[in-house]
Symmetry: C2
Subunit: 170 residues, 2 copies
């Protein structure tokens, strides 16, 4: 599928079939994530690939909308390692770009995914650090649920002219 | 070009030919950006499309590595509108996902781009707010330079096994 169609087809997918996600697809998604740009090319992203059903069940308690984790065959916890930052303060942007690549790669693999935000909410961050045994320098940014989607998505364009001005806003 | 190839081909491109970026390509990049996910679907992104050479010249002073702005035919300032956030604190993630889509759409259009980070550095934020006449609620996240690349890029996979663990980090 061409890149623009993938961008337009990606949607938050919360309902999955029972089919597991293949190791090849996991590798493809992580490779895409790690090919994102990062400040000073610091690549501060770290990933915990979660396929233990007991952990997925617990991940569903991290966030008020994390229910899909319970029925997802796979979760990917995306963290920033503060010790890896080349330019302090940019890790959220770096890791968000990585997640967006990961979500698009999922669509390219005929998978569906949803981005569940953790940081900057202290309670979610602390709970995820404990659940996934993270070192102190790792801040969990998001938990991404992945699976084979139950429903097919159609491409959509959400361009909104009112969000754009030329040269100066005012 | 298929999505995975675009993801692997995207690189920070800082040298451009004199050819301008077409209105159709600007529309495609902005449409891609606005199709990113956002917390509560708040879509807090705002864009200033900069093609005034005097402003591009000034944009080059915003950032120690912003030199490419001087010779780029186009810049896109990406801001978060704090008044548009559905869930406060997530605008950086939302706007970063939008920028990543924009960068990938640039590659799909045979363009090249570079993401110049502004936020969270106070001095850069204040200078950009003034230069582009932003309302108080707008925080400029990044200035993206866009143009027709002078050199061709080859796809690259940056997968690094040491960034990944299964189920728990420790």
């Amino acid at each position: 599928m061409d890149a623009l169609t993938v961008i337009r087809t990606r949607r938050s997918v919360r309902a999955y079939t029972d089919e597991p996600v293949s190791e090849e697809h996991i590798r493809t998604m992580l490779g895409a994530a790690m090919t994102a740009p990062s400040a000073g090319n610091g690549q501060p992203w770290r990933f915990v690939v979660v396929d233990d059903p007991a952990l997925l069940e617990k991940a569903a308690t991290l966030h008020p909308y994390a229910g899909p984790a319970k029925k997802a065959p796979l979760g990917i916890l995306v963290c920033g390692d503060l010790n890896a930052e080349k330019f302090p303060g940019f890790w959220v942007q770096d890791c968000s770009a990585a997640i967006q690549n990961l979500l698009l790669a999922a669509v390219a693999c005929d998978l569906g995914a949803v981005w569940l935000g953790l940081y900057p909410l202290e309670e979610r961050v602390t709970a995820a650090q404990k659940l996934f045994g993270l070192p102190e320098s790792f801040i969990p940014l998001a938990f991404v649920c992945v699976g084979h989607p139950r429903a097919e998505q159609q491409p959509q364009d959400r361009y909104d002219e009112s969000n754009v001005r030329r040269n100066r806003w005012a």
